[in-house]
Amino acid sequence: MFTSLNARALAVSFCIFVAFLLAWHLATQAAVPVQKMDPEYAKLMGLTATKGTSAMPGPLDVAAKIWEHLKSPFYDRGPNDKGIGIQLAYSIARVMAGYLIAVMVALPLGFLIGMSPMMSKALDPFIQIMKPVSPLAWMPLALYTIKDSSISSIFVIFICSVWPMLINTAFGVASVRKEWINVARTLEVRPLRKAFTIILPAAAPTIFTGMRISIGIAWLVIVAAEMLVGGTGIGYFVWNEWNNLSISNVIVSILVIGVVGMILDQILAFFARKVTYPE
């Protein structure tokens, strides 16, 4: 083979993509036999169902829709009709808020748990019970106490992203190699300086792994949370477009959610690479 591995992988990716688009296009072009149906139901399902073409949009419809969104991502025509850019901005802002609060809670608490075997044992039962709870199960409680849907979503994001960060920070801090601690001890390094110059850099790769898992989970959860509470956000957008029977918009949203999720993950991966050290 003359070409590099990357070039070949890229070519295969491209072929798969084209084949997928082609199959999708052909599948949605194929005529569906007109079904006899209750006229009420036909009305509900929209024109396409009665016209003999698939209700499923093809790649061209979706491409046209993407273009439409790209042209004006930030339009705002009332509560039920906002541009996808605005909806995304809402979701990202909520994720950031909940996530940052989680960072501020999880890192210091994780340090405490990691440094003190006693605190680790004392807090372990709470963590073990709280960790497996689906973050959405907190939603009713949040809505009842906070009485604000937006802040409730932020709370849910906080709850779901706090555990991986807390557990990884505690683990990373607890497993700092004894010999590095001993170096600091023989140099009489003060506790605060030791925390920042030995423990933090030693545990940073593990901490960032936790932060990366958290941002992934937060992005998964925000869609579900916004579907639940409605109002604004990309999750609400998906649900709203489903109610409008705009499948093209639903597909566009799926793509957008995927791309944003990837970008968030890559940002964290970038920082994780920065702090990783080869041993």
């Binding site: 010999e179 590095w180 001993n182 170096v183 001890r185 023989t186 140099l187 009489e188 390094v189 110059t197 030995i198 850099p201 030693a202 702090v275 050290y277 080869p278 041993e279």
Partner: protein, 306 residues
């Protein structure tokens, strides 16, 4: 009482920089009892003295060194430095770790500078780096300042560890097999450097080694530990070679082979059998001080007297 004038017990207390008094280390044994790694270990290191410890692997040498560093406390007994019991680590006692213990996220310069900055917190970054560079140059690593530990060979890592310990200019050096991973040439020149620094600064040194020649070249005093478990100090060898010896001509010195054979005999047989036939009059508080010497050819009858 005049007889013991040669033994350590006669040394004036203020002369003893470090005094190890009856220390022991036990670990829980799998059967529920306890394993004694060593116990009742007594010896001392004078100010400015170079003290080597020789003993087989696992007899507890690193453990003793960690106790002197203050990283571990003995289960029994006490270590005294400068008249005070050791309760924790101190910048006065620098450690060269057996496992290098470099910080992998810092460069060579960063590792040494970290120690320098800990020693002199008020120094400016420039001064810290200059000082660190001086010691990096001393161990022959100039040009590798910006490499990370993962890019260094075992011997280079060991030298960074040496530079880091020397850079804080401690009152005492605790070295755990500091030259074990070096080639003969580098080892020789670093031994020369370390010896020169110790003589120049009057530093006291405690060094663990497996290399008999290294011990003879560097040490004023060699502590012989028996095999573990239940290791003890069998004897303390007073190095008879003149203080201004040099490495090249070491083996030409008259007493060289006497010391060397004495040490090797101990390592080959003595360390194993010592426990089972402890010589009469052996007192762990005052391990015998031995000074091997070449028989004087002029009067062979002297040998018996000695």
């Amino acid at each position: 009482m005049m007889q013991v004038s040669e033994t350590l017990s006669s040394i004036q207390h203020d002369e003893r920089f470090i005094s190890i008094e009856g220390i022991a280390r036990h670990y829980p044994a799998p059967d529920g009892g306890k394993t004694t790694i060593f116990e009742n270990v007594w010896f001392s290191v004078k100010r400015g003295e170079f003290c080597c410890v020789i003993g087989h692997s696992g007899c507890g040498k690193t453990t003793v060194l960690n106790m002197l560093a203050g990283l571990e406390l003995p289960d029994e007994g006490v270590n005294i430095v400068d008249g005070k019991a050791i309760e924790g680590p101190s910048l006065d006692r620098a450690v060269i770790f057996q496992s290098h213990a470099l910080l992998p996220w810092r460069t060579v310069l960063g590792n040494v500078a970290y120690a320098v900055a800990s020693r002199w917190p008020s120094w400016k970054r420039e001064a810290i780096n200059d000082h660190a560079r001086k010691y990096i140059k001393l161990v022959g690593l100039s040009g590798s300042e910006l490499k990370r530990p993962s890019e260094l060979s075992g011997g280079m890592k060991q030298r960074v560890g040496i530079a880091r310990a020397l850079s804080i200019e401690p009152k005492m050096m605790l070295m755990d097999e500091p030259f074990s991973a070096l080639d003969a040439l580098t080892r020789g020149s670093l031994q020369d450097e370390v010896r020169r620094i110790c003589l120049d600064t009057g530093q006291s040194t405690f060094m663990i080694t497996h290399d008999v020649d290294e011990a003879i070249y560097l040490a004023d005093k060699i502590v012989l530990m028996t095999n573990g478990p239940g290791a003890m100090v069998a004897e303390i060898v007073d190095n008879p070679l003149p203080r201004n010896r040099d490495r090249i001509n070491l083996h030409k010195l008259p007493d060289y082979y006497a010391v060397r054979n004495h040490l090797i005999d101990f390592l080959v047989t003595g360390s194993k059998v010592f426990r089972d036939n402890i010589p009469a009059g052996y007192d762990p508080r005052r391990p015998p001080l031995v000074r091997p010497a070449a028989p004087t050819p002029a009067s062979p009858s002297d040998r018996k007297a000695a």
